[in-house]
Amino acid sequence: MAKDNNNIATMIRSKQENKETDKTNKVVLETDKLTKKFGGLIAVNNFDLKVSQGQISSLIGPNGAGKTTVFNVVTGIYKADSGKVLFQGEDLAGKKPHQIIKKGIARTFQNIRLFSNMTCLENVMAGQHCRSREGTWSSILQTPGQRKEELEIKKNAEDRLKQVGLWRWRDELAKNIAYGNQRMLEIGRALASNPDLLILDEPSSGLNDKESEDLIVFLKSLVKENLTILLIEHDMNVVMGISHWVTVMDEGKKIAEGLPEDIYTNPQVIEAYLGKDEEEEE
């Protein structure tokens, strides 16, 4: 554990160096007093979250804190009981998931949800669905426009596959590739929709150390391309290593937010999260 902590400390240091390059603090995503109940259980309680443009924000908290529920509300899978979700100033209330991704929020899932019986390439091609528009008739008749668009989709998908390092698995069924690759494929699929904000639900869970490190490098490279990332993460190495901003959640409420180094030393957080749940990671 001690070694880990050292590790984190180094990461924080390197983070501070990066600080200067941070972009403007324009807020991309904001939740305002968000509340979601399941029966009697209040999963998310008056939760406020801000995600700034071009940054990697993390949402952390012990199991059952309501992090994934926040994601699900933001991406439209659940409807909020009260409160607002604002994306680039626009209220997302009542929007369906497929409309929200079109607005520019793409996501991955905690327990990877790929289209298992489709190839990796097809998975990524499917990711571009909201960015393409050819209709039923042009598809049946295979009009030149449709053919052109399809080629573009394919070209983009191939680029994305190369970007996430899965080019060699392009024709393999998604269910047949290694777990770590599946994680990357899911990110690739989300990226294929050219999002402004990428929401990742525990991207490093199930990855080995090497893969985790690669993931960190990869996510950093994405931010350089002016992508905003919001992630739920349990792996403190990852959180501390890449986050610009950390929000801590417990029992549906926000208990702290701040720079990673502040959070790392925040006694409340340590008590709620690190203190209790360190052993439970994974």
Binding site: I77, I101, L114, E122, A126, I140, L173
Partner: protein, 332 residues
Amino acid sequence: MKSNKNINQKNSIFKNWLVILVAILFIALPFIINAYWIDVLFFFGIYALLGLSLNIVLGEVGLFDLGHMGFMAIGAYTTAILNTSFGIPIIILLPISAIAAGAFAWLVCSPIIHLKGDYLCIVTIGMGEIVRLTLNNNPFGITGGSNGVFGIDFPSLGSIFVVDNSTKFYYYIWLIVGLTIVGLVNLQRSRIGRAWNCIREDEVAAESTGIDVRSYKLLAFLLGAGLAGVAGNIYATKLMIVSPESFSFMESCMLFCIVLIGGMGSIPGVLIGAAAISLFPEVFRTFAQYRMLIFGVAMVIMMIFRPGGIWPRKRGALKFESLLIKAGEENG
């Protein structure tokens, strides 16, 4: 499944050859066989068309539809009633039947499309039964009750193109099946087909990937029903009579089997499934009352030994899938 370019390339050529061979055989067949077998093959074509239409809903999108015959019935009765009462030519009624069946599907499926799996299944059964029972009860005296509607014309276009004998009907149906196959293969390779498959694989992920699940499910029902409506039109003109007996729940179950025996979402599979379901009973008619017994046993055995169907759809072959998209293909 190894993704080896060379092998795929070979398969591609092989597959094309196979397609051409089968096509030639189908064109030549009426010159070899007698009228009875031409008719059998005609009904094989009808089942193939129906199987293809159900395959959109069941195979591509994974929606359990056990009332598909209801859509065909709408198409067939639209043709029959409009032709016998108003004398509208059959050819014009072909698209009208498709539209009527599609519109019906859209209307009835809109409120129920959110249902999951088996619940959707029973609702489609209910819908099919409602259609059949209503037709049987002769509402407003237009469906002729259990007698059905008879005296339907042949499809014709002026006096030059008249489909009036078994051979012509054979070519007629297989021409339409052929066109449908081309259209459906194109669809399979488009974003629409991909979206459908995504919904089948994982609805939540599909929705989050930007696919309007509800609309695409409805689209599948609409297209499937429309095609079934076309099949209904041709069926009605061939038999010159439509009666509710032809659209029973049992027939819907047989369509379900066509898709599953062939392989979900696989177009060659559907053709094989349709062949199995429509030719088998004819081949075994000599066994009289044992025929259906054998048929049932065959279905069970089939599923035990090839649960994925005879010719399941192959994935991982997107590279050579493009018969028409050739450019920029090899080096991505």
